[in-house]
Amino acid sequence: MPRFVLLWTDAAMWLMALAMAVYVLLVLRRPGLRANWKRVFADAPALASAVVLALCLGITLLDSLHYRPLLPPAAGSEGSAPAYDTRTRSVLDALLSRLVDSREATYSRPLSYVGFTKESVEVDGEVQRVAPRLKFGGAHLQDPATQWVGDLAWRSAVGLLLGGILAAVLSAALLALVAWRGKRPWREGVAAAWRGEDAIPWRVACLTLGAIGLFVGPVALLAGHYHVFGTDVTGNDVLYQTLKSIRTAFVIGTLATVATLPLAVGLGILAGYLRGWVDEVIQYLYTVLSSVPNVLLIAACVLMVQVFIDQNPEAFETGAERADVKLFLLCAVLGLTGWAGLCRLLRAETLKLRELEYVQAAQAFGVPGARIMRRHIFPNVAHLMLIVTVLDFSSLILYEAVLSYVGVGVDPSMNSFGGMINLARSEMSRDPVVWWSFAAAFGFMVTLVLAANLFADGVRDAFDPRARVFRPRPGLKKAAS
C-alpha cells in the first residue's frame, strides 16, 4: 500500500469541491438561484467556457490526490518498517507516468526524434556533429527518416478519430440526459436539444466537447511515443509541465479568492450594519490595506513567509510538502491583502439594505443584530460575493505569473505558468529559438484565462440585477432603426 499524503492545498481543493457540490444541491432546490444559473448557461460563451473549466477542474482534482509509493524492501531488511519514496506523486502523475519517466537529456523540438543540440559522435572513424537520437521520443522507429512522417500522420488520424468518437459519445449522453430530464420522448427530445429549443444552447456544449476531443485525441495518442510539446532544458516533457501548471493556476485562482471572503464579508456587513465607530475602524483598516501597492504588500508578506519557512526547515518532510505549504501561504497572503475591494462593495450594499422595510421589520420584532445580518443581509449580498469571486479568478491566474517573475510567487520546484514563462525569457533569446515551452504555456494559459473571463462575464450578467448588459450584438441597430 502506498502511503497517502494529504497536502494543505489538497485538503483545501477537496473541501472546495465538496462546497461546490453542496452549492449545486442548493441551486437545484432554490428556484431563484436555478433561474439565475440557467441564465448563465444560456449564454453560449459562458457555457463553452464552463465545459473547458470543468475539464481543468477534473485535472486539478486528479492532481490533488497525493501519495508516496512504497519502495520494494531492501535486501536483508524484511520485517522492518516499510520504506516510502521521498518523492510525492499524484494520481495524475501515475496516469501520465510515461511522460514523467521519459526524460531526455536536454531540449528537443516538439514531436522530434532527435535532440536539439548536436553532439560530437564518431562515425566510421570520423568525428561528426550530429543531433543524437532521443532516448524516448520516437524511439520505436527503426528508420526515422522514412517512417517519421507516416507514423505521425497515422497516429494523428487515429487520434482524431478516437477523440471524435469519444466526444460524440459524450455529447450523445449529454443530449440524452437533457431529453430525459425534459421528460420528452427520446428522439424528439434529443433533436430539440440539439436544435437549441431549450433555454440552454446544448449544441454549443457538444461542439466544445467535440473541439476538446479532437485536440485531446491526437495529443494523447502521440504522447505515448513522442514529446508532443517538446522537452525543456532538463529534458522534462513540456506537456506534462503544462498539465501540472493547471493545478497551480487553479489552486491560486480559487483558494486566494475564497481566502478573501471571510474578512471581506464579515467586516463589510458589520461595517454597513453597525455603522458608527465600528464602521470607522473597518474603513480605516481597508484604506490602509488598499493604499499599499498590491505587489509590494504581497512581496513583503511573502518575504516574511519565506523567512519563517527558512527558519523551520525541519517542519517539512519532503520538498513537495514545503513547496505546497508555500503555495498555501501565498494564497493566504493574497486573501489577507485582497479583501479591501469586496469589503467596500459589501459595506455600501449593506448600508442600503439596512434601510429597507424587511430589515426594519425584523428590527421592530426584536430580532438580534447578528441574526439579521446572517438571515436577512447576507443572502441579499451573496450575489455580489459570487460575482467578485468569479471575476477575480482569472486576474489571479494572470497575477501568479507576475508574482513568480518578481520572485515572490510559487516555489521554483513547483510547475506553474509563471515559472514556465520565466524560463522562456532566456530560452527565447537563444539561437536557434527554443519556442515550444513558451508556446505551450501561452496556449494553455490563454485558454484557461479566456474561459474564466467569459464565464465570469456570464455570471455577472445573470446575477447582477443592475448590471446593464452591454454585449455587442451585431444587427441590433438595424432592427431598431
Binding site: 480605516y284 484604506t287 499599499v292 513583503a300 520572485g407 514563462i421 494559459m445 484565462v449 454585449r471
Partner: protein
C-alpha cells in the same frame, strides 16, 4: 474646498502611520534584527561581533517600540520603530540593509526620474488610446466592428503582460531589429529605449481599459440628455464627443487615476524586463535580495502616492464636473 483637502491630508497621514506600523509589526514578529544581520552578512564570517556592528551601523541595535532605558520622549524616539519607520515621514529613508548598497534616499531620487520618463508618457498615451478605441467602438455600437472589437478586447485582456513583453522583445528587437532589447542612456537618446516598453505596455492594458470605457460610454448613451441632444438634431459625432465624452470622464478619471501611483513607482515588470534603472526595478532587486529596508521605504512611498493621487482625483472631479463640490 481648502478645509476638505486639509482633512483628507490629515486622514492620509493617519493611514500612512497605520501602513508603517503594520509592515513594521508584521516583519519583526517573524524576524529579529539578529536574523536580518545574519541573512545580510551571510557566509562564514557570522559571529556576534559582526552582527552587532551591522546592527549598530544601521540603527537596529535599539529596542523595537519602547526604550525603557531612556527618559521622557526618548522612550519613544530612541527606538527602531521611530528611527527607521517614523523617520520615513521626513523622507529620511536611511541606509539599505544590504551590505554593498548605500543610501536609499539617493537611489530613490535618481531612479525616480527614470520611472517618470517611462510612466508619464505611458499614462497620457494610455488614456488617449483607450478612450479613442472605446469611443470608436461606441460610435459603431452593435455593428460587426463593435462585436469583433470587443472580442479582441476580451482576448487581449486574457493574455498575461509577460507574453506581450517576451513576444514583443523577440519580434521587434531580435527579428526586426527596430529597437534595442534593453538598456538605458541619459539624454534624448533614451527615446529609442523607451519606445518598445511604452508601446507594449499600451497594448497590454488596452483590452481591459477599452472594454471598461466602452461600457461607460454606452451607459451614458442611454441617458435622457443624449436623447435630447439627438432631438435637437445634433449629429452622432457631436453627441458623442461633446456630450457623452464629457460625462463619461468622471468614471474614466477614477479608473485611470488608480494608475497614478505607478507613474512614479514605475511598472515593476516592464522596467526590469527592459533593463531600465527605475524604482520598479529597484523594488524587484530589493525583493530578490530580501532587503527589507528598501521594501519598507517603497511601501511607504507607494501608499503616500496612492493617498496623494486620490486627493488629486477628487480635485480633478471639480474641474471636470462643475456640479461636484468638495466640502
Amino acid at each position: 474646498m481648502g478645509g476638505y483637502i486639509v482633512r483628507r491630508i490629515a486622514y492620509g497621514a493617519l493611514v500612512l502611520l497605520g501602513v508603517n506600523l503594520a509592515t513594521f509589526f508584521l516583519f519583526f514578529t517573524v524576524n529579529t534584527p539578529d536574523d536580518m544581520a545574519r541573512l545580510n552578512i551571510g557566509g562564514k564570517r557570522v559571529n556576534q561581533e559582526v552582527i552587532d556592528k551591522w546592527k549598530a551601523e544601521r540603527g537596529y541595535d535599539k529596542p523595537l517600540y519602547f526604550n525603557d532605558a531612556e527618559q521622557g520622549t526618548h522612550k519613544i524616539t530612541d527606538t527602531i520603530f521611530w528611527e527607521r519607520s517614523v523617520s520615513l515621514f521626513a523622507l529620511d529613508f536611511g541606509r539599505s540593509d544590504a551590505e554593498s548598497a548605500g543610501d536609499i534616499g539617493h537611489e530613490v531620487a535618481t531612479r525616480m526620474w527614470v520611472s517618470l520618463q517611462l510612466a508619464l508618457p505611458l499614462f497620457v498615451l494610455q488614456l488617449i488610446a483607450s478612450t479613442a478605441f472605446a469611443l470608436l467602438l461606441a460610435l459603431f455600437r452593435h455593428t460587426r466592428l463593435d462585436f469583433w472589437g470587443v472580442v479582441a478586447c476580451v482576448l487581449m485582456l486574457s493574455i498575461s503582460s509577460l507574453f506581450y513583453i517576451i513576444v514583443g522583445q523577440y519580434f521587434f528587437s531580435r527579428v526586426l531589429k527596430l529597437a534595442p532589447i534593453s538598456g538605458y542612456v541619459s539624454g534624448w537618446d533614451v527615446i529609442k529605449f523607451l519606445v518598445l516598453p511604452i508601446g507594449l505596455s499600451l497594448v497590454a492594458r488596452l483590452g481591459g481599459e477599452a472594454r471598461l470605457y466602452r461600457a461607460m460610454f454606452l451607459e451614458e448613451l442611454g441617458k435622457d440628455y443624449v436623447r435630447t441632444a439627438r432631438a435637437k438634431g445634433l449629429s452622432e459625432i457631436v453627441v458623442l464627443y461633446r456630450h457623452v465624452l464629457r460625462n463619461a470622464m468622471i468614471p474614466i478619471i477614477t479608473s485611470a487615476g488608480s494608475y497614478l501611483p505607478y507613474v512614479f513607482l514605475g511598472s515593476l515588470v516592464f522596467e526590469s524586463f527592459f533593463g531600465l534603472p527605475g524604482l520598479g526595478a529597484y523594488v524587484i532587486e530589493a525583493i530578490t535580495k530580501q532587503d527589507f529596508a528598501v521594501v519598507r521605504t517603497m511601501v511607504f512611498l507607494g501608499s503616500l502616492l496612492y493617498i496623494v493621487s486620490y486627493i488629486l482625483i477628487d480635485v480633478a472631479y471639480t474641474w471636470v464636473d462643475p456640479r461636484v463640490r468638495l466640502a
